[in-house]
């Protein structure tokens, strides 16, 4: 997943292909993505990918480049929703 997100930044042809018809591109990606990863990607479910351990520096690039129905505000909303429990638990920064 991290490799895919990084390539999104540096490979305009990959971005274009993902924008046109993502599923075949994801199924043929090397190294292979799991079925669950592909499903999360095509539905823009960055919350699931975040909780699975994706690097957030890289993951947010999907929103930056407008892939999988995301933009940066939508990306942010989904990440925040996926981690709302942790934020409640940890609370604000200690003094």
């Amino acid at each position: 997943m991290n490799k895919l997100c990084r390539r999104v930044v540096h490979d305009p042809a990959l971005r274009e292909a993902l924008a046109q018809d993502p599923e075949p591109v994801l199924r043929g990606f090397a190294p292979p993505l799991s079925k669950a990863e592909i499903e999360a990607l095509v539905t823009g479910d960055v919350g699931t990918l975040s909780r699975a351990g994706c690097n957030h520096f890289l993951l947010h690039q999907l929103g930056r480049w407008g892939l999988f129905g995301l933009d940066l505000p939508e990306y942010a909303q989904r990440i925040r929703a996926a981690h709302s429990d942790e934020r409640r638990r940890t609370g604000p920064e200690p003094d």
């Binding site: 540096h10 690097n55 520096f57 930056r64 990306y75 990440i79 925040r80 981690h83 920064e93």
Partner: protein, 278 residues
């Protein structure tokens, strides 16, 4: 010998150059906060700029050196923001000298014979030296992928780089810059409600600013623990770039220090050469 004539702490938000060009609501604020740095830079008239930064998973991805230095003759960037494209001359001779000195001082710094600059260098350069033909020496610190180098080690690296500069042949004027935020989360769980970034530790940001104002480098290094950097966000390790830079001159309060709290970062400059300010 070469000597260090100025030092800078400088943020590297990749959007700032475009925001200024397109009249974003923050354009004036951004320009006004960078302006004192540019003026100090011009006044210092450096021949070379030692630039301490942390690659954002662009050049270093499969291989992650703890420390690295670019020794190529030139480099382009920003690789991750092509709209900022610029070619930059590098000072390969001084970079080789510094690299050799660091190895002799037991810092096993990776040598980069090809360099691709990312926004962490190119975006600030847009404000610091928009037209100046200054030769860059990029130095990289791993600030993101744990385990990170300790603050103490980064301070020692800065001091060793200073020795290297001061033992270099010639009489070159060298400026140094450390780039990064003190508290910043990018794309992760601690982002703010209205952005894909956040400032998880505003108290730490204030603390670092206070320690900069009093030039208490010893305490800054002591308090910059791995746990503290993690609490400050997934980009919280970038304070290490500042600590390397601060190691390159005797501690003193900055001539200019300003902050953008909503971005978790600060702007600072130190004029270190009496001749440069006369």
């Amino acid at each position: 010998m070469c000597h260090i004539v100025a030092a800078f702490g400088i943020p590297h938000n990749p959007h700032f150059p475009t925001w200024v060009q397109t009249g974003h609501p923050l354009a004036q604020e951004i320009e006004s906060k960078y302006r004192p740095l540019r003026l100090a830079f011009e006044q210092a008239r450096p021949d070379a700029l030692l630039y301490i930064t942390s690659d954002h998973y662009n050049m270093f991805w499969e291989t992650l050196p703890v420390f690295a230095i670019g020794v190529a003759d030139s480099a382009r960037g920003a690789s991750d923001y092509p709209e900022l494209d610029r070619e930059v001359r590098l000072d390969a001779a001084l970079a080789h000298h510094i690299h050799g000195h660091l190895l002799r001082r037991d810092f096993d710094v990776a040598m980069l014979q090809e360099v691709e600059l990312d926004h962490t260098v190119i975006a600030p350069l847009h404000f610091l030296a928009p037209h100046a033909d200054v030769a860059l020496i990029p130095v990289y610190v791993n600030a993101f992928v744990r385990p990170l180098p300790s603050a103490q080690r980064c301070l020692a690296l800065g001091r060793a780089i200073r020795e290297a500069v001061e033992s270099a042949p010639g009489a070159g004027r060298v400026a140094v810059a450390g780039s990064g935020s003190f508290s910043l989360e990018i794309g992760g769980p601690r982002i703010s409600e209205d952005s894909h970034t956040g400032v998880p530790a505003p108290g730490w940001l204030d603390r670092v600013l206070g320690l900069l104002r009093t030039a208490d480098l010893t305490r800054l290094v002591a308090e910059t623990t791995d746990e503290q950097m993690w609490r400050a966000g997934n980009a919280g390790g970038e304070v290490l770039d500042w600590i390397v830079m601060l190691g390159m001159f005797d501690p003193r309060p900055p001539d200019y220090l300003d902050v953008q709290p909503q971005f978790g970062h600060a702007f600072a400059s130190w004029s270190l050469d009496a001749a440069a300010s006369s």
